[in-house]
């Protein structure tokens, strides 16, 4: 480790870094704008100036940009000497000449990097007295607000949007002192990662438009560590509340998972918590009045639950581990099912058993970024796991950069230089899917084929890598050539990554992905295998091996009580089938947070808490258990975590206790004991009694305002602060004022660092893991010496039935997820329902784009407009999955198509 001298003090630092990140890692305050730990340095803003001395004797020194200067053994620098300070003061004064006097109106105020840096440099009086440069702002869609006058030309936005995330519709225009950051013309930003501009831009140019609807300053938010509920990756978020409403979601850095970024579904999909459609009162149907209080509910449940009836529980992939396990305990393991179709349950079970076998390594998102060759087998990760797509993009870019850097001595953080060197080179990515994906632009090899062909190609790749595996009979030439190309690239890699998932409803594909990863695993080559899953907690149900609820239908009679946990079964099976199921349920208890088709059918409806009102644990697709914490206590209604309700029901059955004895951690300990595959999960969080110096961790910043006024209009006498018995967090601003442990960080803040850039102060090294290790407990580790149990059942090519199409889902980042579609802004971006067919199929059918056509699948008819999918392979019909208002379909079945008669009559 080299030693450098900063202001005459020696420090041992890490080689290969630049001086800015080194200073920040050491805890020094050095202002910067254009540098970002994830984007590297370009030396554009000149704000990070320091003085570099020739040697110890040199007293003059020269000004350098710390972000552009590598760490050198024995280097002498000064952060605090007068020249450097004056230089930095000058730079910020220039930057501020055109900056409006806007802070009180600006949404960034209070979490603004520009404010922080201005205060840090000590610039407080403006000498510039002339007219300021002004711009027109643009309409950028429902998610982001644009206020160009606040721009300081640091170029971070375009560097993130174009270079990092691959977006094409945000750019920099004009020249001189009139550069403009925006779109060519007004319009919705196309990248699903656009929301990150809110945090990447150090000023208030890009701000959260959904927050504007109910604006609250960062210091006035009651916040808690949360986990995104909108896909299976489990990105870490911070949810902020005021006046009983969730106001915003911001990124919560986790070095192993989402790093600095979230996708727009996760960032803006929070408004379901505030929805008018929330269930807040228990209902007992066919009673007057239907809404009941807790006591009547319990009396009613007591009758239902204790008359020695069979209980059937249907677990949910969007409810917490605790809630699912509590239900399983209540009904008994043999009566516990999950609310997905037979096929989906089987696919989940297969994925969980592959990963639980321990034969291959399943990577974190951070590890994925280090991959040097990537194969995506049939999963549309851009839409089903957006941040994974962003990680794959980084893998492609990073490996191209690593190749280019082999011949030079340039450091990897030298962003502009590296890009110059790399030009258009890309690392290896093979993307096989049903139809076009934005990832195709950066892939070396793309394939648009049927799930069967993709799976077969997968087996061919496995065979090419490991000739001991069976050969695919009658492989067509195109697939054979692609397989050979991909196999070669994967074999040349040191850290190949294979990604697949269940979204094509094809078992063989999942097996092929495993075979490839298994075949690649040799002494020095460590293959990574990652599967996407359908929902935020699908992994838990897959690991519990819960069968599909369709299997329970025959068991239901007038004497069974069915309990459905937090889900709408109409989203997983077609209406006719679901109705048949509900018709058999004479005693139906449903717990959910929002009214939907399933809650309509409930005889007893119980209000369940959402992630904002609950403590719970989710297990993401890599098997990482992560805790999310309650953000606030709802003041109206009787919303409670489902696991609390279940334990209360349990105590009704056993007539002991009041149902409030167990905390989430107790549930997890019980779970470990009952199901050993969850071993270690109880370490996911601290016990509720955990204190630092006797203090709990406050959910509110010390500047939180209005405490004695907020509730005064309701009752003047101030109530006692709310107690949290389930976690070490408190609902007040009092408590441990310093950095809490990594998994308990309710918001990022450090003295002088009010913006999200304060995350620097929480990391072991800048851009690295959080101090004390990144949160989350991994449950699926590779076990050395596990033999690879290859799958050898290569599916046979079955000729498609005549005039039939394979019905498959098309996923949409906005719309396919149930909860995020409650946000008005997201709903605006949802596509309209359509039926997608390939160009050739459309031509043969003689129908035109945009005309209504009718699809018949499993005896049900669906009529929607046709949308020609240029890149879709023939023989497949795509319908958007899970759009609000669209019924579920039998994915993977054969459907017929006819031009719609209804449409032609109109």
């Amino acid at each position: 480790m080299p030693t450098i001298y900063i202001d005459n003090k020696p420090y041992e630092v890490k080689a290969g870094k630049n001086l800015l990140e080194t200073c920040l890692t050491l805890g020094l305050d050095l202002p910067y704008f254009c540098w970002h730990p994830a984007l590297g340095s370009v030396g554009a803003c000149r704000q990070c100036a320091i003085t570099l001395f020739k040697d110890k004797e040199d007293t003059q020194g020269r000004i350098v940009m710390s972000c552009m200067e590598p760490v050198k053994e024995g280097a002498c620098i000064s952060v605090s000497n007068a020249t450097a300070k004056a230089f930095r003061g000058q730079v910020i004064e220039w930057l501020m000449t055109n900056h409006p006097h806007d802070c009180p109106v600006c949404d960034e105020g209070g979490c603004c990097h520009l404010q922080d840096m201005t205060v840090m440099t000590g610039h407080n009086y403006r000498r510039y007295q002339y007219k300021k440069r002004t711009y027109l702002n643009q309409y950028l869609g429902p998610l982001l607000n644009h206020e160009m006058n606040r721009c300081i030309q640091c170029y971070r936005c375009v560097r993130f949007y174009k270079d990092y995330a691959g977006g094409e519709d945000l750019n920099v225009f004009a020249a001189h002192h009139h550069v403009y950051f925006g779109r060519e013309k007004d319009g919705i930003l196309q990248s699903p990662f656009s929301g990150n501009l809110v945090e990447v831009c150090p000023t208030g140019v890009f701000t959260d438009k959904t927050l504007k609807q109910h604006y609250t300053r960062k210091w006035d938010l009651t916040a808690a560590p949360s986990v995104c509920q909108h896909c299976s990756l489990g990105c870490n978020t911070t949810a902020g509340e005021r006046y009983g409403k969730i106001r915003s979601i911001t990124n919560r850095y986790n070095g192993a998972v989402n790093g600095y970024f979230l996708c727009d579904r996760g960032r803006f999909g929070y408004e379901f918590v505030n929805d008018e459609n929330r269930i807040t009162q228990p209902l007992i149907r066919n009673r007057v009045p239907e809404a009941v209080d807790e006591q009547s509910l319990m009396d009613h449940l007591k009758l239902l639950l204790t008359q020695s009836r069979t209980l059937i529980g249907i677990g949910s992939s969007r409810a917490s581990v605790e809630s699912n396990f509590a239900l399983r305990q209540l009904v008994g393991s043999e009566n516990f099912y999950q609310g997905v179709s037979l096929d989906e349950a089987a696919l989940g079970k297969l994925i969980a058993s592959i990963l639980q076998s321990g034969a291959v390594h399943t990577p974190s998102l951070k590890e994925m970024e280090q991959a040097d060759a990537v194969l995506v087998l049939g999963e549309d990760i851009w839409n089903t796991a957006p941040i994974m797509a962003l990680s794959v993009r980084q893998a492609v870019m990073n490996s191209a950069a690593a190749n280019a850097l082999q011949q030079t001595s340039i450091a990897g953080w030298h962003d502009a230089a590296v890009r110059e060197l790399v030009q258009d080179n890309k690392g290896f990515l093979a993307n096989a899917g049903l139809t076009a994906s934005p990832l195709d632009d950066i892939s070396t090899c793309t394939l648009h084929a049927t799930p069967h062909d993709i799976a077969v190609m997968g087996f061919a790749i496995a065979h090419a890598i490991h000739p001991g595996l069976p050969e695919v009979p009658q492989l067509n030439n195109e697939l054979a050539a692609k397989a050979a190309q991909i196999a070669k690239a994967l074999q040349q890699a040191k850290r190949p990554l294979i990604i697949s998932g269940p979204s094509c409803y094809n078992e063989a594909m999942i097996k092929a992905a495993f075979d490839i990863a298994g075949a690649l695993n040799t002494g020095e080559r460590k293959a990574m295998l990652s599967y996407v899953l359908p929902a935020c907690n699908s992994m838990t149900l897959a690991m519990m091996q819960a069968p599909s609820f369709e299997k329970s239908i025959d068991r239901i009679n007038d004497n069974t009580v069915v309990i459905i946990l937090e889900q709408d079964l109409y989203r997983s099976i077609p209406p006719a089938k679901a109705n048949a199921f509900f018709n058999r349920c004479k005693n139906l208890i449903v717990l959910d947070s929002l009214h939907n088709g399933t809650t309509e059918k409930a005889q007893v409806l119980i209000p369940a808490a959402t992630m904002a009102e609950a403590d719970g644990t989710l297990i993401n697709n890599e098997g990482r258990a992560q805790r999310y914490y309650q953000v606030f206590v709802p003041t109206t209604g009787m919303v409670k975590e489902s696991w609390k309700w279940f334990w209360q029901m349990r105590s009704l059955q056993t007539s002991s206790g009041n149902g409030l004895e167990l905390h989430p951690n107790d549930w997890l300990t019980k779970l470990e004991k009952t199901l050993p595959q969850f071993n270690g999960i109880s370490r996911v969080s601290y016990p509720p009694e955990f204190r630092i110096h006797g203090q709990a961790i406050p959910r509110e910043p010390h500047r939180y305002s209005g405490r004695t006024a907020m509730l005064a209009n309701l009752a003047v006498s101030e109530p006692k602060p709310l107690q949290d018995n389930d976690s070490p967090l408190s609902f007040t601003m009092e408590g441990y004022p310093n950095r809490p442990p990594a998994s308990l960080i309710p918001f990022f803040w450090a003295p002088g660092w009010n913006s999200i850039q304060s995350v620097n102060k929480y990391q072991q090294e800048t851009g690295g893991a959080l101090s004390g290790g990144d949160p989350g407990i991994r449950l699926l580790e590779q076990k050395t010496g596990t033999p690879t149990a290859y799958f050898t059942d290569i599916p046979e090519a079955l000729p498609a039935p005549r005039n039939k199409w394979l019905l498959l889902p098309a996923y949409h980042i906005f719309g396919s997820d149930e909860l995020s579609a409650y946000s008005a802004a997201i709903r605006e971006l949802c596509p309209e329902p359509y039926i997608g067919l390939s160009t050739q199929d459309t031509a043969e059918l003689g129908i035109t784009d945009g005309k209504n056509i009718t699809l018949v699948a499993e005896g049900e008819e669906y009529t929607y407009p046709l949308k020609i999918q240029e890149h879709l392979c023939n023989g497949i019909v795509l319908l958007p999955a899970g759009l609000p208002g669209m019924p579920a379909l039998t994915w993977g079945s054969w459907a017929t198509i006819a031009p719609s008669l209804k449409n032609n009559a109109v």
């Binding site: 802070c103 009180p104 109106v105 105020g109 209070g110 504007k212 609807q213 109910h214 604006y215 609250t216 300053r217 210091w219 006035d220 006046y243 500047r703 939180y704 305002s705 209005g706 405490r707 004695t708 006024a709 907020m710 005064a712 209009n713 003047v716 006498s717």
Partner: protein, 185 residues
């Protein structure tokens, strides 16, 4: 226990005598003081018929100000609330819609603005913090009220009358201090 400071005086703990226990002398001493006050100047005045002169920097009830065109000045930035040592101010911001430019000066305004007068210590820090000259403390007393509820002041209680439509009321609400200032200008 060790004393915290060296100023502690030991207390004389010897038991009282019978005469001391009668307290007669002590009661008499007390009455004497009360009696002497009859001849002193009164400390109270007959409010509200009589009023005390205020210092020119007296800090009374809050006013939410408008600009010359009658638009609300407050932009709901929250700086007054964060400055308030009694945590007595709370507000909710809203976006100004098209066509409301005559109502609100800035593009954001306070849809709700409440001060808990029971908590307020009339320190004036909110006035000092406000970057928009929107809130200031007038010369008016906070009136008494039979119900505590009545002392939670919302926007209707705090907003100054519109100078365009109600110039008289506006002048009155502005108070002497502001009027004097205007005359001086």
């Amino acid at each position: 226990m060790q004393a915290l400071t060296n100023r502690a005086k030991p207390v004389d703990r010897k038991p009282m005598t019978f005469v001391e226990r009668l307290y007669l002398w002590n009661i008499f001493k007390g009455m004497l003081i009360t009696f002497k006050h009859i001849f002193k100047k009164k400390a109270t005045i007959n409010y509200p018929e009589q009023q005390r002169p205020f210092s020119p920097v007296f800090r009374g009830l809050h006013v939410l100000n408008r600009d010359e065109q009658g638009r609300e000045r407050c932009t709901a930035c929250g700086l007054c609330a964060v400055a308030c040592p009694a945590e007595a101010i709370t507000m909710e911001a809203a976006e100004r819609k098209e066509g409301e430019e005559n109502l609100y000066r800035e593009e954001k305004y306070a849809a709700k603005y409440e001060i808990n007068m029971l908590r307020c210590i009339f320190c004036g820090l909110c006035e000092e913090a406000c970057p928009k000259d929107a809130i200031y403390l007038s010369e008016t007393f906070a009136p008494a009220n039979y119900q505590r509820k009545g002392l939670i002041y919302g926007k209707p209680d705090l907003l100054i009358p519109d100078p365009v439509t109600q110039p008289e009321e506006y002048k009155q609400a502005l108070g002497n201090r502001a009027n004097k200032q205007q005359q001086a200008n």
